[in-house]
Structures are given as C-alpha cells and as structure tokens.
C-alpha cells in the first residue's frame, strides 16, 4: 500500500500543474492565453507552475512571433506524457483498491 502511495508523482500533487498537463497531453501545443482561459488562472500562478513543469522536463516552451506579437507556446514532452500517464495509473490503482 505504502509503495503505491510513494509512486504518486510529487510534481502532480498541485492541482494547477495536473490541470496544465491534462490540457497539454491532448493538444499538440497551447499558448499562454489559451491555458490561462481554460484553467481560469492568474498570470503569476500559471507562469510559476509552467516553470516547475519545464524544470522537470515535462513541458517544452517555444517562443515565436505572430506578426509582431510575441507568442509562447507550450507542449508536452515525451517524458512528461509518460510521467502523467504513470500518475494516472497509480491514481486508478488507489481508487480500485479501496472499492
């Protein structure tokens, strides 16, 4: 039992980070504004959560220009996808065990 708890990914303990990953695994890429609207977050909250995910190597940041406006797009890395799906597996196991 304890071992399974230990396998829960600490990075995804935060609801915000879990939310960002949920959105990025099903979309090829999303920009800052779209993520912000979707998850209903403040700029600061979203930016700091994205930083953490980037540091873990789960999320990729790509800066580009649309016309003259800078636009930052975020996408999920392969290791991020793996970590997220592992985390879901553990959650599922925990719920099933308690049934």
């Amino acid at each position: 039992m304890k071992e399974i708890y230990a396998r829960l990914n600490k990075v995804f303990e935060s609801r915000v980070r879990l939310g960002i990953m949920s959105a990025l695994v099903v979309n090829t890429a999303m920009d800052f504004k779209a993520l912000k609207d979707l998850l209903d977050l403040t700029d600061g909250n979203l930016a700091s959560s994205l930083k953490v995910l980037e540091r873990e190597g789960y999320v990729n940041e790509k800066k580009q220009f649309i016309g003259k406006k800078p636009n930052t797009r975020y996408s999920c890395t392969a290791s991020g996808r793996k970590a997220f799906s592992d985390h879901l597996d553990v959650l599922e196991k925990l719920i099933n065990m308690k049934k």
Binding site: L18, S22, V25, V26, N27, M30, D37, L38, L91, K98
Partner: protein, 207 residues
C-alpha cells in the same frame, strides 16, 4: 482513507479539462431546430419557383431548371446558409455565456477548421456541377459533403453530431440514384433531420 474522494475528484477534473480544451461543447441544439426550419422554408420557395412557374417553358423542374430560376435559387440557398450560420453562432455564443464556458477557444477553432474543409470543397464542387449543367447532382453532392463535415466535425465537438452525418451521407447517395426527387431529399436532410437532431440535443444538453 479520506483520500479516495480526492483521487476521484482529481480524475474527474483531468477528464473535464481534456474535454474542454479539445472540444467545442457549446453547440446549441436550438440552432439545429432553427436550421431545419430555415431549410424547410427555403425548400418551399424553391419548390414554388421550380414547379409552379406559371407553366413557362423553362419549367423543367430540378433536373433542367431554366436560366431565369437559377439566380433566385442560388439566392434562396445563400440566404438559408447565412441565416443558419448566424443563428447557430449567436445561439451557441449565448449558450457558452450562460454556462460560463469559453466560446472562442482552441476547441471552437479546431471545430471550425474541421467542418470548413469538407464544406468548402463541397461548395466549390457544387458550383462546378452547376456550371457544367449537372443540376441533378447538386443536391446529392451537398448532402454527402455536409455529412462528411459533420462526421469529421464530431471529433472536435460532442460526438452526437456524427450520427446525423452518416444519415446525410446515405441520403445523399440515395438521392444520386433518384436525382429528380432532389428537393424531397433536401427537405429530409437539411430540414427534418436538423429538427430531429436539434430536439434530441436540446433534451440531452439543454437549449
């Protein structure tokens, strides 16, 4: 043990975010009913134009419409299309606002692109058919391409729009066998089917 609910909530939230971020879910059922009514009205005017043309020699029905009825026919079709798009956008916008959802997000954009490709291709193809004089094939082409648009668009919105899509494709193919009954198929596919679909959607997801 109190964690159990927490995990279940987390999974629910993940699921909801995945849905909201990829799918346009504010499509209004009421707009389906409106689209059906516009289409039936359009069919009625087209019928009068084609078959009750005071017995003039151009009166060859849908298969050989005379020169002077083509313009009013195109006008009717374009009016129905514009009214349908405007009403659908407006009602869906109101629905999104009422439910506190984002109307113009990644989901709605993908939906729009998804349905536009088959629709544009179909529209251009129909113009070609008209220019080449294959009048009888215009209605089947519209039905088939519209059906394909719905089936494809269903990947980006509630999947419920896929079944009317399949029905439209079948109607279109059958109509190609009986092109002289084009108006009837038009009324079935764009009128009746939209109304049935709209009622089902309204009952399932609210107006």
């Amino acid at each position: 043990m109190t964690n159990e609910q927490e995990y279940i909530d987390a999974l629910k939230e993940i699921r909801s975010i995945m849905q909201r971020s990829t799918r346009f879910i504010s499509l209004s059922g009421l707009s389906g009913i409106a689209a059906g009514i516009y289409a039936l009205a359009g069919t009625y005017f087209a019928y009068r134009l084609l078959y009750e043309n005071d017995g003039s020699i151009s009166d060859g029905g849908l298969m050989h419409p005379g020169g002077q009825v083509i313009r009013p026919l195109v006008f009717i079709a374009a009016s129905v299309l514009i009214l349908t798009l405007a009403t659908g956008t407006w009602l869906s916008y109101l629905k999104a606002k009422r439910e506190g959802k984002v109307f113009w997000g990644q989901g709605s954009m993908q939906f729009l692109v998804g349905v536009s490709i088959p629709l544009l291709a179909g529209g251009i193809f129909a113009i070609m058919l008209m220019l080449q004089g294959y009048y009888g094939m215009i209605v089947p082409a519209f039905l088939v391409f519209y059906g394909l648009a719905l089936v494809h668009g269903g990947r980006y919105t509630v999947t419920d729009i896929q079944w009317p899509g399949y029905v439209e494709i079948i109607l279109g193919l059958v109509c190609a066998i009986f092109p002289e009954n084009g108006l009837l198929f038009w009324a079935l596919g764009f009128g009746l089917l939209h109304i049935i679909y709209g009622i089902i959607m309204s009952l399932k997801y609210g107006l």
